[in-house]
Symmetry: C2
Amino acid sequence: MKFRRSGRLVDMTNYLLNHPHEQVSLSFFSERYQAAKSSISEDLGIVKEVVENQNIGSLQTSAGAIGGATFIPGISRHEMQETLSELCEELQDPERILPGGYLYMMDIIGDPRKIEKLGRILATHFQGEKVDAVMTMATKGIPLAYAVASDLNVPVSIVRHEHRITEGSIVSINYVSGSKRRIETMSLARRSLQPQSRVLIIDDFMKLGGTIQGMKDLVTEFQSTVAGIGVLTEAADEEEKLVNDYVSLTKLSGVNERERKIQVEIGNLLDD
Amino acid sequence: MKFRRSGRLVDMTNYLLNHPHEQVSLSFFSERYQAAKSSISEDLGIVKEVVENQNIGSLQTSAGAIGGATFIPGISRHEMQETLSELCEELQDPERILPGGYLYMMDIIGDPRKIEKLGRILATHFQGEKVDAVMTMATKGIPLAYAVASDLNVPVSIVRHEHRITEGSIVSINYVSGSKRRIETMSLARRSLQPQSRVLIIDDFMKLGGTIQGMKDLVTEFQSTVAGIGVLTEAADEEEKLVNDYVSLTKLSGVNERERKIQVEIGNLLDD
């Protein structure tokens, strides 16, 4: 295909969106489009202006021989606020109340478009943390974890309850399950996380934080460091949480099964 | 922001890529960019030419008062072939052999970029099947299922082994686990799949097809129809499979633990 500027901009936008956090050189685009580097630089200037003005993310460009561009997906604080307000509204629907004060959330977790947007909020929040890998606990944390990892362009490690994992040698640890106050076991395949990684822990729900604390311990077992913790929903509880260095997108502050009322507010992510 | 054509093309490309299988009207873009519909039509013509020539997908445009554009993500047969050949190559690494003839695949399943590309292959294959929902079995099928569902712009239903699912009323069925020939149970929350849906079943691994057959039965329990079945890897087996209407991306035709040799070929998806 022979490219003019207009065509280059379409292809370049697609390329950059699909290679977040990856430096793409001027030479690469110059060869791809058979165009002078000076023209490519101008193209990148246009892409940069639009993605930054439209709050799609940012484009970090550098000039010179080793020049190029890196696309960092992002979302504005205003859009975070709007997205999370809508989510709180949705979560307050009394139809969601399940026996035991649980909340039905699979419709939200099961919607790829919604989860991608929530993942983008967390990826934006943690974009400066030099994350090497995202860790989550099966099952319901997985979709959000992949959405975040996709934006940060890093792999996902899935921790599981089972012992019968057919993945070679595994590392298992015990942890106290917050909701049931029971000793449980979580396992991760030895080769599914590189030692010395900076790990971002993502989960769907946190009550006292027992599961998250377990994952923190597991990160240490892999000679790695926790780069951050992000959860979709935290539940308010009278008891002190086991972890305090987390961000939450939403906060479930009350479920009244008898009156069928749920109170959900925006989590601590937007606090200053 | 004030848009010129070049800026419109960048924003429009981003918008369409993020709203696959959704008709976007000329009026929407015309208002968004404060531009005449005739200009928007020309813009869409440029986007269409590039996405189709670069094998990013197709753009179905319609003119007139109710005119607009629908982006359908897609990948060319040539790129499918290339991607799957590389995957076979990767899977044949003897380091993957686990006790019992299993294969370590979490590095591939854990890589969002790779899984998105494999998901795109399946989404392209099933794009004409009017899919309403994707169904998968926890845990390892989930990432691929979301990648497919994201491209098809439909929700995901996650079937699980456990009975202790805190998601309200659940539908459970028994099935014969192919690898262990045991009767097991799988469950899906009643509200996580709309009746009368056309369901695409996605999983990571299929041996005899017992789990897939279970999901097919579950689809029927929800008064729904199977729109298709797609798996990442099928294992060749002497015994006849329980299902035969599936497509596979790769086929594991032999694992020799003693000689540490694995033979993987491209699955039946590319057969004519």
